[in-house]
Amino acid sequence: MNLNYRSLGWRLVLIGLFTVILQVAAVSQVKVFGVNADLVPLVAASVGLICGALPGAVFGFALGLLLDFALVETVGVASLILLTIGYATGRLRELRDPQGAIVPLLVGAAATAAAQIGFSLLTFLLGQEVPLGWALLWELLGTVAFNAAIAIPVYLVVRRCLLSVLPEDPRRRRRRAYTTGGLSPLSRS
């Protein structure tokens, strides 16, 4: 994929900053049924799904680092998890190129579950007492469900922000050619 890395980089920096500020200053403080949404894994997964594995991994790493610094938490934990999410969703796009409308929802839910479980595992490995119980399970499942509900709008917003700096998708170009008439192979017959 031939990417304009400079334009893409600037947009990803802005998306990352906006995501962290929005998450920390607003989204984290709005609870429904005792759980809140977590935009961070959704945005990391969306970038991976739109841009591919390499930009997805770099963006995930930087987003995690920013989050760890902004929240004064153990540096490296969020980077490691979001890097993995960005890379994995990017590889999914490169290997399978899933096209269904429901794909961002499924990927968003999976990314959120991976982030939550990843945090649990790393927290446990770092020697912190892991709060196991129904409250945690409720929080985990609630966050996954909440994130799944907003995954498609988040994906669409991220795609809208990045679309103009990405090379045109051949499938989309072909579809536009058909709908605009002149370039359709059928028109030659």
Binding site: V32, G76, Q128
Partner: protein, 289 residues
Amino acid sequence: MYDRAVRRRRLTLAALLALSLLLLTAYFGESSGGVLHSAQRGVFGVFAPIQDGASRVLKPGRDLFGWFGDTIDAKGRVGELERSNRNLRARAIAGSEAERVNGQLRQLLNLDNAGGLAAAKPVTARVIGQSPTVWYASVTINEGSNRGVKVGNPVINGDGLVGQVSTVTGDAAVVTLISDGELAVPARVSVGGAQGVAQTGAGGPEDLRLKFIARRFRLDPGATVVTAGTVSNSPGLESLYPPGIPIGSVTRVEDPETDAQKIYLRTFADLRKLEIVQVLTSSINGNRR
């Protein structure tokens, strides 16, 4: 060409993974004055004013979504509150005589408390950020060392104890909430005087427990738990918390009056909806009673 792209992708992934693990190991291994911690405080110092501005700008939207969330939650609590209301009405009738005497005592108690806390140089602050994960129970406030806030200062709101300051920059600070398992608060039961430590158990962040209570003390649900303050007369063993700050009430007791008794508390302060808090920046008489 393809091989080069694959190689570059794999190299980048390996480098980022190694860097993450390196950062994690270095951060975990260094002291709070180390390079990464200092850099983190620097970034936090830059980020805090932006976060403060964003918090103010986004407040209307947050309130709107919060209203929807509260409405949904409130519907589920109607039945529970109706039952609670009936119980409270019965207790109010029974307690009307006690109230007359209690009023006079409360006036004295309030006077002591208000005088005590005012002398602790409270700094009022607004909550401008909250950790998004269940693992890190912390909030960010918009006052820091410029107003005298220091690491270890207790933080309260109108309902009671909220937590303790864990990181400070010039204009902001991070408060570790009482729901964080790392925090242990010397506490006593206001009636009976049983002393122990309030700390979140391994069952979940909302699972606050009163530990190390001697089995001779019988605690009933509803008993009020407050901070114990400093109990030792030895210098250097002062508690960080002034005595008498309300923490929460006992919700249930498992295996009462045994060495293995488990006492569960519910905090008075609603830790999920913190907006205005006060940092007590000074201790009086080493927080002794």
